[in-house]
Every structure is written in structure tokens, then in C-alpha cells.
């Protein structure tokens, strides 16, 4: 048995293997793979997959859909109404009113405390995410949010302690090599 392990050890150190490939194998690999994948197209005639998918449309649909779309796009942009001279007076009055509101508004706000993130109730934050579905998957998020910036425990209802982690690993990991832990050479 010792001899076997010595052999393995020597093989590992040499980093050589006794297998070989035909000449030009890797150079032509892509081409052969693509031609095999392209074979699907020629095989389609013998496939059990039906040639049509059975969808239908109402009679005359394609004749009427064009005008329907065109009528919607012409109303979408609407007609431009020219500005009239007397409106300038209203704009002046509105500008004065806006300045007054801002001045009083700023003074008013100065007396109150600014709203901080902590003032938001969790339910409001939850409701925001509920109403504004993020396009990001958990994998996307994991790529954009640096793990150092957040503590995992911030996101969990119960704190994650080593007992939980060991329990999880015990139940879910069959082979310790799945963990992709860094290999350490103890020699």
C-alpha cells in the first residue's frame, strides 16, 4: 500500500500524465463540436417534435392590427398648443409664489429634524421592494454588493452562528470536496 501512495506522490510531483491525444485534436475540437451541434438542424426532419405549434389568430387580425397601431401612435404624440402672450403674466405670478413657498418651506424644514434611513419602518422598505420588483437575481446581487460592506447577519432574521453552520453542513454536504476549500499541502 505504501508503494502505491509513493507512486501517486511521484506522479503528483512530476505533474505529467501518460495520456496523449491525436495530433491537432484541440485545434479541430471547436469545429467538430459546432458541426455536431449543427446536426440538430438536419435531424429536425426526423424529430418527433411537431412541425407546427397549433396557434391561430382571429380572421382578418393582421389586416386590422396595422391601422389600430397607427391610430394609437398618431394620438400618442398629440398636437402642440401654441403659447399665448398673456400667459406670461401667469408665469410671473407663479414664479413669485414658488419663490415664497421655497423660502418659507426651507425655514419651516430647518426647524424639523431631517429624515434618516432609520426613520423608515421595515414595512415601508419591504413594501418598496414588493412594489418595485428588482430585475436582479440573488446571483446578480452577490456580484454587485461587496460582501465586506454588509454583515450576513444584517439580512437574517436569526443570527447565524457556528452551530447553525455546522448543522447545515452536516445535513447538506455529502462530500467535503464540494466546499472547494483551498488545498493545503501539509508536506
Amino acid at each position: 500500500m505504501d508503494a502505491f501512495w509513493r507512486l501517486i506522490h511521484t506522479m503528483k510531483k512530476d505533474k505529467k500524465n501518460s495520456f496523449n491525444t491525436p495530433e491537432g485534436y484541440f485545434e479541430s475540437f471547436n469545429e467538430r463540436l459546432m458541426s455536431r451541434l449543427g446536426q440538430d438542424e438536419t435531424d429536425a426532419s426526423e424529430s418527433i417534435i411537431p412541425k407546427t405549434d397549433g396557434f391561430g389568430v382571429p380572421v382578418g387580425y393582421f389586416e386590422t392590427i396595422g391601422p389600430t397601431i397607427l391610430s394609437k401612435t398618431t394620438t400618442e404624440k398629440g398636437k402642440v398648443i401654441p403659447l399665448r402672450a398673456y400667459r406670461k403674466f401667469y408665469y410671473g405670478a407663479a414664479a413669485v409664489a414658488a419663490v415664497l413657498i421655497i423660502v418659507f418651506g426651507l425655514n419651516w424644514n430647518a426647524k424639523t429634524n431631517p429624515v434618516t434611513f432609520d426613520d423608515l419602518a421595515n414595512t415601508e422598505i419591504d413594501a418598496y421592494f414588493e412594489a418595485n420588483a428588482s430585475e436582479l437575481t440573488s446571483y446578480d446581487l452577490a456580484e454587485v454588493v461587496a460582501l465586506e460592506d454588509i454583515q450576513l447577519n444584517d439580512m437574517l432574521e436569526e443570527d447565524l452562528n457556528s452551530e447553525h453552520i455546522l448543522e447545515y453542513l452536516d445535513e447538506n454536504v455529502e462530500d467535503v470536496r464540494d466546499l472547494n476549500l483551498e488545498e493545503i499541502d501539509y508536506e
Partner: protein
């Protein structure tokens, strides 16, 4: 048929825009409809999404830089509109993506605009099991008979990756159809 570059120029010019847009709608309405229909399955939904797609095209034509072909830009908008539509629908119904897909296929049995037989219905069930991208590649290649190079422009994926996706999709569908 009008050249694509000319059509784009006319679409951007206020004077010729209305006429050019009519040409655009008439040229692409049927192709885009079938592309959308195969994603949303139901005719009324496909009709809604098709109209939204063209309205979006009309509003954003000035932003079309011509870096990709016009048809691939249209297909991209149609694909995004269809997938967004399904997302909104599942949210409105309070169900997950897969449950929505299963329901959509179940509803086909009562759909007057679905004339498929048992095998075609089973095909839809098989397609509902595929990831979105695989399903898109399969339907664009198999039913819409698009070239890989064109699909590659629409889905912004390499031809090699598309061939692999198509291969996987075909194998999965065949296995599903063969199973009882």
C-alpha cells in the same frame, strides 16, 4: 421592399415619419406577432404586447443608433416587452414564474385560438419547463426558422452558445414528448 437604412432615415425625419412607420408596421407586424405569441401564448396578450412594442418603437426611434440591424432592435424590444408583461402578470396574480407558465399552458385547452392537438399541447408543456433563454432560442430557430446569426444579434449571445442551447432544448423536448 424598402432598404433598411432608408427606412430608418425616413422614420427619423418628421416629414416622412408617418408613412415610414406605416411601412415598418406592415413589414414586421406578423413576424413580431408570432415571436410575441410564442412567449405569452394567449392571443389577446400577444395583441397587447405587439401594440406596446410598436408604440415603444415609435417613441424611441430617435434613440436608434443603427449599431445593430433594425429588425434585431425590434425583436429585442418585442422580447423584453413580452418577458416584462409576463413578470407583471405573475406579480398581479401573486404567483411565481413557473406557476404562471403552467397556468398559461393549462388555459390553452380552452383557448379558441389554439388549434393544437394532444402532441402540440404536450410540446407547450415541454417548452414551459425550459429556461426562458432555451425556450426563446428553440422557438426562434425551430418555428420562426431564423438564422443563428440573426438570433445572435437579437439575444446578444454568441452563435456557439445558441447552438448549444438549441441542442439542449431539442434533447429535453424530445425526452419530454417520449415520456408518458
Amino acid at each position: 421592399m424598402i432598404a433598411e437604412e432608408t427606412l430608418v432615415q425616413e422614420l427619423k425625419d418628421q416629414k416622412s415619419q408617418a408613412k415610414a412607420f406605416e411601412v415598418l408596421v406592415n413589414t414586421y407586424k406578423e413576424r413580431l406577432y408570432w415571436h410575441i405569441r410564442r412567449i405569452v401564448l394567449n392571443h389577446d396578450d400577444a395583441d397587447d404586447v405587439l401594440q406596446n412594442t410598436f408604440i415603444k418603437v415609435y417613441k424611441n426611434i430617435d434613440g436608434f443608433k443603427g449599431e445593430s440591424k433594425l429588425y434585431s432592435w425590434l425583436y429585442r424590444i418585442a422580447t423584453n416587452e413580452s418577458l416584462t408583461f409576463l413578470k407583471q402578470k405573475s406579480k398581479k396574480l401573486g404567483i411565481g414564474d413557473q406557476e404562471l407558465k403552467d397556468r398559461m399552458v393549462e388555459n390553452l385547452q380552452a383557448d379558441v385560438y389554439f388549434e393544437g392537438d394532444a402532441i402540440q399541447l404536450k410540446l407547450q408543456k415541454a417548452l414551459a419547463e425550459l429556461p426562458d433563454k432555451q425556450k426563446l432560442v428553440f422557438t426562434m430557430k425551430y418555428f420562426q426558422e431564423m438564422k443563428y446569426e440573426d438570433i445572435s444579434e437579437v439575444l446578444e449571445t454568441s452563435v456557439g452558445a445558441l447552438k448549444a442551447s438549441y441542442h439542449l432544448a431539442v434533447k429535453k423536448i424530445e425526452a419530454y414528448l417520449k415520456a408518458d
